[in-house]
């Protein structure tokens, strides 16, 4: 479904990503984990088109998309959410989600003017129905007319997910969907993600810091550290991987503890 081949990304002298290659299979729930600054978000930005890799290529459904603009990629079926909430704060929840359907709306400015004649009305109704489905699914019925900026954090995260889902993407990129949530909200979100993957048939690439959730729901996990891939595989394999334990899971590294002992 998605293949990244030797992707490197440099900002001047800073190497954000070095030779990262991986492949995501259709229908998979694929997680990218790693310590802060490991290059996870950079990787997702390379896939969504916000950054263009300095070297390497990215293929989506067999097609090279490395040079495509972000909006063209969205048109191909890659949706995303952002790490820092990026809702249109002054718009209603419904409008936020309708923006997500932009590329699916055929009727433009002129055809829309003859609203009742050209089938634009029929089309809009169909879209509204689908949007309502998404709203029902994410359980945000009660806030659909509310201004997005006024909602609580957990709800805004959900609305953002709804907006990305409205795109009807084949592949959805979730950048820390559960950051800053309480336990209950996290459980809900995890359920939504699993349902999206299993029932809605979306392939998911997720960045998340909550190891419990990642290990529970991911099919496969890739670990980045300092912009390099250090492991990839089933959650249990990755958990067992020695490099990963050192780099990420905070397992005491013998060398480091020895030094610390010596100092004290």
């Amino acid at each position: 479904m998605l293949e990244a081949a030797q992707v490197s990304l440099r900002f001047g002298g800073v190497r954000a990503l070095t030779d990262v290659s991986f492949a995501v299979r259709p229908g998979e729930l694929f997680s990218i984990i790693g310590p802060n600054g490991a290059g996870k978000t950079s990787m997702v930005n390379c896939i969504s088109g916000r950054y263009r890799p300095t070297e390497g290529s990215i293929r989506f459904e067999g097609r090279d998309i490395t040079a495509l603009k972000p909006n063209a990629r969205a048109g191909l079926g890659i949706g995303r959410t952002f790490q820092n909430l990026a809702l249109f704060g002054h718009m209603s929840v419904l409008d936020n989600i309708m923006v997500g359907r932009h590329h699916l709306l055929r009727h433009g400015f002129l055809t829309g003017m003859v609203y009742w004649l050209g089938g634009a009305q029929k089309e809009e109704l169909a879209h509204r129905r689908e949007v309502e489905d998404i709203i029902d699914f994410l359980e945000i019925q009660h806030v659909r007319k509310a201004q997005a900026g006024t909602l609580s954090y957990g709800l805004r995260k959900r609305v953002e997910l709804a907006r990305a889902v409205a795109l009807k993407p084949k592949l959805i990129l979730l950048d820390e969907p559960m950051a800053g949530m309480n336990l209950e909200e996290k459980e809900d979100m995890a359920r939504f993600i699993v349902d999206l993957n299993e029932e809605w048939g979306m392939t998911v690439i997720m960045i998340e810091h909550d190891m419990g959730v990642v290990m529970d729901i991911s099919h496969r996990v890739m670990v980045l550290d300092f912009g390099k891939k250090i492991a990839e595989g089933m959650p249990e394999e990755v958990m067992a991987n020695e490099h990963v334990r050192r780099a990420y899971l905070g397992e005491a590294d013998e060398v480091v503890t020895d030094e610390a002992d010596a100092v004290s």
């Binding site: 969504s48 088109g49 916000r50 603009k69 972000p70 909006n71 969205a74 048109g75 949706g79 995303r80 952002f82 990026a86 249109f88 704060g89 002054h90 718009m91 409008d95 309708m98 923006v99 997500g100 932009h102 590329h103 709306l105 009727h107 433009g108 400015f109 829309g112 900026g149 907006r163 990305a164 795109l167």
Partner: protein
Amino acid sequence: MNWELLFQLTLNGLIVGALYGVVAMSFVLIYKASQVVNFAQGEFLLVGAWACWWLLTTFQMPFFLGFLITLAFMTIFGLVLQVVVLRPLIGEPVISVIMVTIGLSIFFQALMKWMFGVFAQPFPQIFATERVNIAGLEVQSVYLLSLAISVLIMAGFGWFFTVSKHGLAMRATAFDQQVAQSLGISVRQVFAMSWAISAVVSAVAGVVVGVVNGVSSALSFYGIKVFPAVILGGLDSVVGAVLGGLIVGVLENVAHFFDSEFLNWGNMFQIAPFYVLIIILMIKPYGLFGTKNIERV
């Protein structure tokens, strides 16, 4: 006190104000979509009016045909201007872009003078009856048309921003270009479209004013008048632009009334809106309807 004159002038103010409102809206449209303050807005009126005048006088076209062709021309004009001049400036500092729009304004002023001369040219007569009598007040029939067109355009804008796909895309782009792109919106298209619509709408206003006062470079003065209207209403509010336009229109005429009746200072109507602008901005720095930057703590 001469009440009849006061009413007459207030009515004129509302009608002219509606036109200001229309121009202000097209100014706000560009600002909302691309954060560009367009100093060449008045020249859009000028170019549109001259184009229409040229079509009507040179080819003896009926008014509405010439008007439609003018609109088509202005669409292309706006698109080309955005693609050729402003697109390469995306990502440059705001001040450079503003300088370029000032340059455009000077360029089109001069170009129009070179092509059509410096004298005001009257439009061929369009309406059989010049004036209509409404409740004892004399109103030029073209003003009525202008009012109808203004209201129509305002309703169109309202519909465009709240309901249409492109309006929604434009609001999304104004809020965050990166996010808009990730949702499949082409930011370039949105920018081009905003300039095209803005040029067309301004041209409509230009033609209407041209029909009333004749076409001359004075038309571009509307571009300056728009500033108090827009800042009064808040730079990014469409409703504010309309209200700002109306307020400025009425203020001008009321100031004219008091000036001619009592003060006799002359030309006070020119500066009155700017005084009020200063006072309002002292009380509400974001304008009447502008977006305040709210921070969550």
